[in-house]
Symmetry: C3
């Protein structure tokens, strides 16, 4: 894809900092743990769902892209973080119960963070624009899709996950255009990706 390298500004090939990926794992894991709480699962169910939602989207991304390694296997903190989130959410349910609509906020923030990680990895590895947006979207909604399929919430997912997918497409596209075509700083672009993804979702719920 050499014709795209002309758009490359120097900062494009520099990945976002590693703590952002870890933040996705934590927030994604929390969405899983909150669903485990709704279903009154045991601690293993909490940990299993936290791992599925915290690590699943990134694993789908890495298996599909086949470049740049497998994040959850290469990073020594990713798996422990997902396990820890599941455990903490099981042991201390109090704080999570007090925040209203917590699950919806956590869900869409997690979609945004994963979309960010997916789009950025695709940019670093020089994927085509539309492939980068698809990888961002797939990473964004992948963990939730796996969770729904595993829990048998299948018929339900196709409508509500619509919203998530649209939010993730819009956020990923905004990030790609800003970084690759307009030469924007990646942190600024990341903030706008989050604003677009979360904003669209809140707007769709209002």
């Amino acid at each position: 894809m050499p014709d795209f390298f002309e758009y490359l500004s120097p900062n494009v090939a520099v990945s976002l900092p590693a703590w952002l990926d870890l933040a996705s794992v934590a927030v994604g894991g929390l969405t899983g743990a909150l669903v485990a709480r709704e279903r009154r699962l045991d601690p293993i169910g909490f940990i299993g769902l936290s791992m599925l939602c915290g690590l699943g989207g990134g694993l789908i991304r890495d298996m599909a892209m086949q470049s740049g390694g497998v994040y959850m296997l290469d990073n020594p903190y990713a798996i422990p973080a997902a396990v820890l989130i599941g455990l903490v959410a099981f042991l201390f349910p109090g704080p999570f119960a007090r925040i209203p609509n917590l699950i919806e906020w956590v869900d869409i923030i997690s979609v945004g963070l994963f979309a960010l990680g997916g789009t950025d990895k695709a940019i670093v590895h020089g994927l085509l624009p539309i492939s980068a947006v698809l990888m961002g979207t797939l990473t964004g909604v992948g963990g939730g899709m796996l969770r729904d399929v595993f829990l048998g919430d299948v018929p339900g997912i196709f409508k509500p996950s619509n919203f998530y997918a649209v939010c993730a497409v819009a956020g990923s596209a905004v990030y790609y255009v800003l970084v690759m075509f307009l030469g924007a700083n990646k942190y600024l672009a990341a903030i706008l990706l989050m604003a677009v993804t979360v904003g669209l979702r809140r707007w769709s719920l209002s």
Copy 2:
């Protein structure tokens, strides 16, 4: 697998033309869009199912083979084609409603085209005969399997997808034997693969 290269005639390593892969995406996408129509999904549902069925089988193939790249990410037309099919099928439902049994024809033609793409990629990358037939079969039925799992049609799939799998196995095996053992021209072999796959399916329905 050097012992298999003795069968290689000069044309074996030449892939089938790229438009055949694109045709699989289009026909596969159409199977998804027709299911979306049956379920009265919204435009996002049409596009989502068109992408799942048009790109899913090839993605499974590429993730499992781990060689030769990821078609849907490398080809700039694959993702747009799947999106477009979903959109067109949503906006202009008329023509699709007029053809009787359209979904069954489209389904099995899609299985044949994907089986062709899967078997041929496996041949180009020198897989073992039985692995090539399995890759053809998996590519052929993969998109439909994903669709069924995602839509929660799970108990139903195991019986009817039997037929599809058998048709795909037979078509892939015919193609492999013709190209690798009998040195047949790939276009001729492709036509026979389609004839065997579609023919077996029609015969099983009669």
Copy 3:
């Protein structure tokens, strides 16, 4: 991950013998065939489930690890073995009907064998300790998870598969610690992995 190689004793990089992988395929395939029998599926259903359970866990492992090739595609006996098990179980149901609780024994032995194959491949390829245990666990329970998702046994799986996952985590961790930290012989470690995995499961059922 060079800091881990200091633990490497000479035998660590030598894989377990190939017949152990083939034994996993056979035992895993048998779990699928026994489920096909419970559901009174036709021969294609037997073969399909035998392949899904015999080959699925290893395929997930190889797609996630992205190193060391894809076992079921590279080994000429894996696919035939899974097909054969399905066929034999369909044609000669007698012996399988006579052994009480056969399916539970076969299930957990299969989990142990797959966990062994997954952990050992991860060790050979130098994965981080926690990644190796996760790969062992995922390989151990992967085939059964796929089976449940495909058959629509979805709500049920999250509780009972808990046990399997815990047994697989424990067995994989024991193997990793023995081989990598204590320099134990791989065969001895393999026997202890099987004892821990199967023992925990039997204890949980008593």
